[in-house]
């Protein structure tokens, strides 16, 4: 029911701002992104002064943008577990889960509201980084060989980042639902997220079908296709299935709580 979802979502969203934690994290994220962007601009200036790159500035800026966004990905990977670790863990430790479980609330509404609560914070954080490509578009020179980034690549990269963030949030939501300890939820989320990213390394040492499967499962592998500007349906489907799968597991884990309570 929408009202229940809305009630829980609003509380969840607000709960990030009861403590300075969200402000500190978002501030830190934007600060580090600023540092990365600064180094991006400097290396761009350095490259454009070298003659062999001057011929095709378009390629250079998009290459560098790819590097820039993989840095964004790494930062998200580090930040997201901190935003998801307390989703269900505090509900168990404060016994407020018993309030939710004895209210007319469908478990799926609860899980979705929690997921969106954390996801919206992460998306807001991500939206703040839009200032960097806007900056490039704003200051790029008009004319035939403009130095601005390719709009298509920026759009597809952001779609990729949004899908990755939501996938990580759904994994974090799941781990927070299986334990009462925020630390355990944090560590397990880290390991799962790193695992999904680093699994591509393993694919190097395998061959055939297995290699293909691992490559398709790897988040970083899928992300590079977005960062190169190609929006592939199979990648979108893969991310969406990750999200649905982990939210389904969360739903099951919360439902099973009442059997063990």
């Amino acid at each position: 029911m929408f009202r229940t979802f809305n009630t829980i979502f609003k509380r969840e969203f607000r709960s990030y701002f009861y403590t300075p934690l969200a402000y500190v994290f978002i501030g830190m994220f934007v600060f580090f992104m600023g540092l990365v962007f600064n180094s991006f601009l400097q290396s761009y200036l350095m490259y454009t002064q070298q003659s062999q790159f001057a011929a095709s500035p378009q390629i250079t800026i998009d290459r560098l943008a790819e590097a820039f966004y993989s840095q964004t990905h790494v930062l998200l990977l580090i930040m997201i577990p901190f935003f998801t670790m307390r989703l269900f863990t505090t509900e168990s430790s404060q016994n407020t889960l018993s309030l939710l479980m004895t209210s007319p609330v469908k478990t799926m509404d609860l899980v979705l509201a929690k997921f969106w609560g954390a996801a919206s914070i992460v998306l807001i954080m991500l939206a703040m980084t839009l200032v960097f490509p806007s900056f490039l578009f704003f200051f790029s020179q008009e004319g035939a060989q403009s130095a601005g980034p390719d709009l298509g690549i920026v759009v597809s990269t952001y779609i990729g980042l949004v899908l990755i963030s939501l996938t990580y949030v759904s994994i974090g939501t799941f781990w927070s639902s299986v334990t009462e300890s925020q630390l355990i939820a944090l560590v397990f989320t880290f390991f799962s997220i790193f695992g999904l990213t680093l699994i591509s390394i393993w694919s190097e040492s395998t061959t055939g079908v297995l290699q293909q499967v691992i490559k398709q499962m790897s988040v970083s592998e899928q992300f590079t296709t977005f960062a190169k500007g190609s929006l592939e349906l199979k990648s979108v489907v893969m991310f969406l299935s990750y999200i649905v799968f982990f939210l389904f597991l969360t739903n099951r884990s919360i439902e099973s709580r009442s059997w063990r309570a």
Binding site: R3, T4, Q94, N95, T96, L97, T102, P104, A261
Partner: protein, 269 residues
């Protein structure tokens, strides 16, 4: 015309049946945690408007029974009906009609008192138009107005307990289940909360568990005494004390739970 009269009598008959149907109906309730059996074959009824005192030593199965009644967790076997709905078949309908205060009040420590109660009212689907009125009412009855804007985590134990009671009543539930509601309250608050519970009788059906026996005498019409997950006594307080041959509920309780010897020593002290 005849059809109308017919449906009218049918409705009257129905309402008669519903009136006679107890608000809470527990039949052969069993709850096992793995090998441990917390509740064994528990059966009892609570008529509408009654206040039932649930008594028993620690680990007797009181909290487990209350959790099952509030549709928080399913039973191993047996049937439980609350307000005419089976807790297993239609848990949503039961949850709409039950207010539940667990042993540890379910409080978001970082929220403010009023904000929290409004949140609970929304969760319990109180119509938006009635929300303010209901929140004001429970804050009034639980004497929370002074602390309306305080953060729950900074409140004393007694105040936290009162917020817990307020959250159980905010949606005006037909059935109120209170697990040790007066723990941590000061004497004045205890009297106030007892009066509040007494006022609920008639319109609301209340089950409350407690270790304070005079409280049961003051607030409850009937007593359900359980031990090791089994019903020992299910009777009115007068009958219970009369049948056990003692004078007070405390003596009767000790006789049933601990046996003659301890009850006797207690008498001599």
């Amino acid at each position: 015309m005849t059809l109308n009269v017919g449906s009218l009598t049918l409705r009257m008959l129905k309402s008669l049946i519903i009136l006679e149907e107890p608000m809470i109906e527990v039949k052969n309730l069993v709850k096992n945690y793995g090998d441990f059996s917390a509740v064994q074959d528990l059966s009892f009824d609570v008529p509408k408007g009654d206040i039932l005192g649930l008594l028993g030593p620690n680990g007797a199965g009181k909290s487990t029974t209350m959790k099952i009644l509030s549709a928080y967790m399913p039973a191993t076997s047996g049937s439980v009906k609350v307000a005419g709905f089976d807790v297993f078949e239609e848990p949503m309908e039961v949850k709409k009609r039950v207010g539940y205060l667990p042993e540890l009040p379910p409080l978001y420590l970082e929220m403010r008192v009023r904000e929290y109660l409004e949140y609970v009212a929304d969760l319990k689907l109180v119509p938006s138009a009635k929300r303010k009125e209901r929140v004001d009412y429970v804050m009034d009855r639980c004497a929370l107005h002074v602390n309306a804007k305080r953060i729950i985590g900074t409140l004393s134990k007694g105040f936290k307990q009162r917020v817990g009671i307020a959250q159980a009543l905010v949606h005006d539930p037909e059935v109120v289940i209170l697990d040790e509601p007066t723990v941590g309250l000061d004497p004045v608050q205890i009297v106030e909360i007892r009066n509040l519970i007494k006022d609920l009788s008639g319109t609301h059906t209340v089950i409350l568990s407690t270790h304070i026996l005079p409280e049961v005498v003051m607030t409850c019409q009937k007593v359900l005494l359980i031990n090791h997950g089994k019903v020992m006594v299910n009777d009115t307080i007068e009958n219970l004390t009369a049948n056990s041959g003692g004078d007070t509920l405390e003596q009767a309780y000790l006789k049933i739970v601990a046996g003659e010897s301890i009850a006797h020593t207690q008498l001599n002290v």
